[in-house]
Symmetry: C2
Subunit: 442 residues, 2 copies
């Protein structure tokens, strides 16, 4: 097995045991980036020499017996909207060109503490909204990688890093992970600090992770889930035991609920419809279908109302001072947000808590909800990063979500299977995701 | 001393000792209501026989050794926007005429548990907003009692009850208490549950108390401060030790900060200016003045922006179905709220946390802030309930506030002295208020 094919846990154990060193591991991934990134364009800031310097420091620490954490020597890609004190953070916009923050974002700080090598900054769409980036899908460069965490998903899919972090306000973790054929996991809203991450919406912004399998995703997420009072959406609570719960496995076979959502009829293509019909058939008694149309049909409208207003406020300076440097898409979105009435906004905000109450009650009966991740395979061409509509309800609620690369579409591009659960039930969600993956692959 | 002149603690102790019974105490207050309420009009719902029934039950319990709490047998007035399962709750509007809720509000539930006699429901302005009620000021019936908790303040001032509860969204506890010459105390935002109280604004609605002295107010507030997950603004925390902190007194002489606020120049009349100049002179080295104009000048605008939007949303049904039954004042307020942009609303909301951070830093240096309660004495006539502008910043922040009946104006009407402190610092605020009262009266 080549170094870049090792799981994160195996690679970290091999470094710990002195079987390999961080410099070798990082060099192998650098080689992959040098080979592939001209065509894929996943990296916004990448300095091979600086990555090697970090790796050598990690090796020196280990030799002195000062290992720092479970990610010691593991390279990680960082979406270019997380502040880094030692690399630019340009947020995918010319307006922030050359921006070099003085401090790390909370997430990057935690990754450094865990021993991770900050490999570089991955390409994002314009200010993590919808205007497509230059990144290509590693499975076929004629296809979109999705967005807004385009570079993070593509970098993991192309084996340029084993791990990467991104963000999701609507579908920006789950969608690119689905299109690129990797695991994307967005923990419960408020589990990972967004301190010094480009702010779109306090209501909906989530930090999420990309990995090649569930265990690696869980290992990365465990390093990031920590209370931070600088993020107003966080509460002090026990962190979920993701890895140990996955390892224990379910005591009894999980019960899933299949929810098509109202987008099934309006947005899902045949690949999705056929793929999910097959999965549901295969699962038999383990799954039952529930129609939640009455709860979910207005969600895209409420989400849009809130997101546009929040983005209009949080990108106010960029709009006021640099309107001409914004894409038409983003400028129009901000202008809609600026015109929205407060009474409509607050009406929509009230639905967040109300819908969570309803979802909590429904999810008491089930271990996880099965639902499409995307409307189909990645779009061909680069006019759009694809439709996030199958992610919208769970981003709206702040429910945890994971996409698993279990299917393929008619163009042989990956197609994710999304699982979600009630807020806070992340450990059981990942245990169920692991069970499902093993069942499908067995 | 007549029964109605006894302090609440003394009356409760006398009942506990069997020296008086609840029926006698309640009868004495009923007599006062029967004598005075034709002219004062403090009560919306008052049934003497039902009050006596509760008193006799309290006495029967005592005889069986089953006393219920520190307010056993004490009559309490309830602003007619707190739901009561055994009396109508009509919110000061014909639209809610005959409304009889099935359950008690959380506050009324707590008062019953403490042994209090629910004496009746006190008059409120229309939906607890600004349109004047029929209540008169007990000090002179040609003057306004203030609003919106008009009846609660007037009932305590006229010795019709020793205690009453009300609410404040802008100045509706402090202002009527100042005008009526009683103690009004509004604990920190989120200290008292607003479950089943007419909702105007989650941001600004506070439950507050009226009493004839600080100790009675503290005793009442201690019965009401209890975590209730049904109020989304509450957090689990240790309740403040109000009574014992007052009793201990300050270890060293308190340090006050005198803040005129921007309303001093624009709104305060000569009574206020002369009275406060005198108080500040009298306090000498115990007080220093601070100009917070830069922090406070926009607060009335932000408060108005948020309050109008929140009222527009929360009174939406009344507006949509009964527009013609709303006062012009309230209808116009709602219509402004309906037209406010979300971006302006959210901009204003952001200032709540920002201003609290600034006030927390300032208040580290002081035991309490000294500031006018009202722009002057109660207005003559009934066109207005007076201006709440000296309460607006502390309602905006959710800081605790108390008004003390320490001054008189040129018409021999009462004039309150307001003290406020940082959020959560209620015990020290009341200790300082007690110290100030004793110093002024010594």
């Amino acid at each position: 097995m080549s170094l870049i094919e090792m799981s994160v846990a195996a690679a970290a154990a091999a470094i710990d045991a002195g079987e390999i060193n961080a410099e070798e591991l990082v060099s192998a991934y650098i080689n992959q980036i040098n080979t592939l990134d001209d065509s894929i364009q996943a990296w916004e800031h990448f300095d091979a020499e600086y990555a090697l310097t970090q790796a050598r420091e990690a090796d020196a620490l280990r030799k002195r017996g000062q290992q720092t954490g479970p990610l010691h020597g593991i390279p990680i890609g960082i979406k270019d909207i997380f502040d880094t004190h030692d690399m630019p953070t340009e947020d995918g916009t010319v307006i922030h060109k050359g921006r070099t923050p003085a401090e790390d974002s909370a997430a990057v700080e935690l990754l450094r503490k865990s021993g991770g090598i900050i490999m570089g900054k991955t390409v994002t769409t314009e200010m993590a909204v919808l205007h497509p980036s230059r990144t290509k899908n590693p499975h076929n460069p004629e296809y979109s990688p999705g967005g807004s965490s385009s570079g993070s998903a593509a970098a993991v899919a192309a084996n340029m890093v084993p791990l990467a972090i991104g963000t999701q306000t609507n579908g920006s973790v789950i969608r690119p992970a689905s299109y690129c054929g990797v695991v994307g996991y967005k923990p419960t809203h408020g589990f990972i600090s967004r301190h010094r991450v480009l702010l779109q919406s306090l209501h909906f912004d989530h930090v999420g992770v990309f990995a090649r399998d569930i265990t690696d995703a869980a290992l990365l997420a465990e390093q990031l889930i920590a209370y931070d009072k600088r993020d107003p959406s966080m509460q002090v609570r026990m962190p979920p035991k993701l890895l140990s719960t996955i390892e224990e496995g379910p005591l009894v076979p999980p019960k899933l609920v299949f929810v098509k959502t109202p987008a099934w009829n309006t947005h899902a293509d045949n690949d999705v419809k056929e793929g999910f019909t097959e999965v549901v058939d295969f699962l038999g008694d383990s799954v039952e279908e529930l129609d939640l149309t009455h709860l979910l049909e207005e969600v895209p409208h409420w989400h849009k109302t809130i997101m546009e207003v929040d983005i209009a406020k949080n990108f106010n300076r960029e709009y006021k001072q640099h309107k001409d440097k914004l894409s038409d898409n983003l400028r129009e979105l901000i202008e809609r947000g600026r015109q929205t009435l407060a009474i409509e906004y607050n009406h929509a905000v009230d639905h967040i808590a109300a819908l969570n109450t309803a979802m909590d009650e429904i999810m008491v009966e089930y271990d996880a909800m099965l639902t499409p991740a995307t409307t189909g395979e990645a779009p061909k061409g680069f006019d759009t990063t694809g439709d996030p509509i199958f992610c919208t309800p769970w981003s709206f609620c702040g429910m945890p979500a994971i996409t698993l690369p279990l299917m393929q579409g008619s163009n042989n591009m990956p197609l994710g299977v999304q699982l979600t659960s009630a807020k806070g039930d992340d450990a059981r969600l990942l245990r169920t995701a692991d069970w499902l993956t093993k069942k499908v692959n067995s």
